[in-house]
Amino acid sequence: MSNVTVVNKNEKKAREMISKLNLKRVPGIARVTFRKKDNQIVAIENPEVYRSQGGNYVVFGEPKVDDFTQKLAAAQAQAEASGILPTTDAKDPKNIQLDMEAAAAADKKDASDAPAEVADDADAGDLSEEDIKLIMEQANVPRGKAIAALTEHKGDLVNAIMSLSK
């Protein structure tokens, strides 16, 4: 490969030889990639691709180590760090909603330091027993979860049930 690109003379020779091999140009190839064993990707942009009658391919062009995946990861990491991109790429409404909820939940955690999970025999504190039972019934969750949700939502019944029925 390096012979082909680095030394122009060699390339010329190779092209001449190949042209005698009855190769057909394959048009419309934008990119050829090679994946090596260690998952490194070598890519040739806008290659000249020829095909022999036996089904072998000859590719001309400048190979480059493709660090596309690394670039993508780096860009994403940067965006996440700056808080612009959420951790998911998909931007359908459901994901936006999840992002917003996650953000809201994080806010609340910081503010009240509420426990995420409460054991089933947890102390209900000053929560209303009726509310807890109602939530267990409506959202079909164990007592611990009902108490956690009710605590997290400051005793707001509808919000607590909503948060559990997602």
Partner: protein, 146 residues
């Protein structure tokens, strides 16, 4: 350096729609509660009584149960009413979760949520009316229906 990219930026409209989705979910959750438990037995927040008393204090006209039962959208959305409600709303900033979130509110407690009987209000308005309606048993019919 601005990292804003018009190609990949979220569609504002989609984000806005999330408020509508959340409002509908809230209404559905509330209605499913009302259809199982008589409203007069429900406690929506730990401070239902305080919300009701403050509501009546600020809006004495709603002592009249008929006005709680059904009202007109204009009653809440005239300029004067909006100013009063805004002040009322801020009183509950600390105590009521999502106190200023957009929320669906029925204009008539004898109807389900419907196209012409539902308005877009804020959460504290929802609580003011629904706590009062539940207090007077105006929603109990929903659970008794079946």
């Amino acid at each position: 350096m601005s990292t804003f990219n018009a190609e990949t930026a979220d569609n504002l409209e989609d984000i806005e729609k999330q408020f509508a989705v959340a409002a509908v979910e809230q209404a559905e959750t509330y209605w499913s509660l009302l259809s199982k438990v008589p409203g007069s037995k429900l406690r929506l927040t730990p401070i239902d009584d305080k919300i009701y008393n403050t509501f009546i204090e600020h809006f004495p006209e709603y002592k009249d149960v008929e006005k709680i039962k059904s009202f007109k959208e204009e009653d809440l959305k005239s300029k004067a009413a909006k100013d009063k409600w805004r002040k009322f709303c801020e009183l509950f900033e600390e105590e009521v979760e999502d106190y200023n979130f957009g929320t669906l509110l029925r204009t008539d407690s004898s109807e389900e949520y419907g196209q012409f009987t539902t308005i877009f209000a804020v959460r504290i308005q929802f609580y003011a009316f629904e706590i009062a309606r539940n207090k007077f048993g105006l929603n109990d019919w929903a659970a008794a229906k079946k």
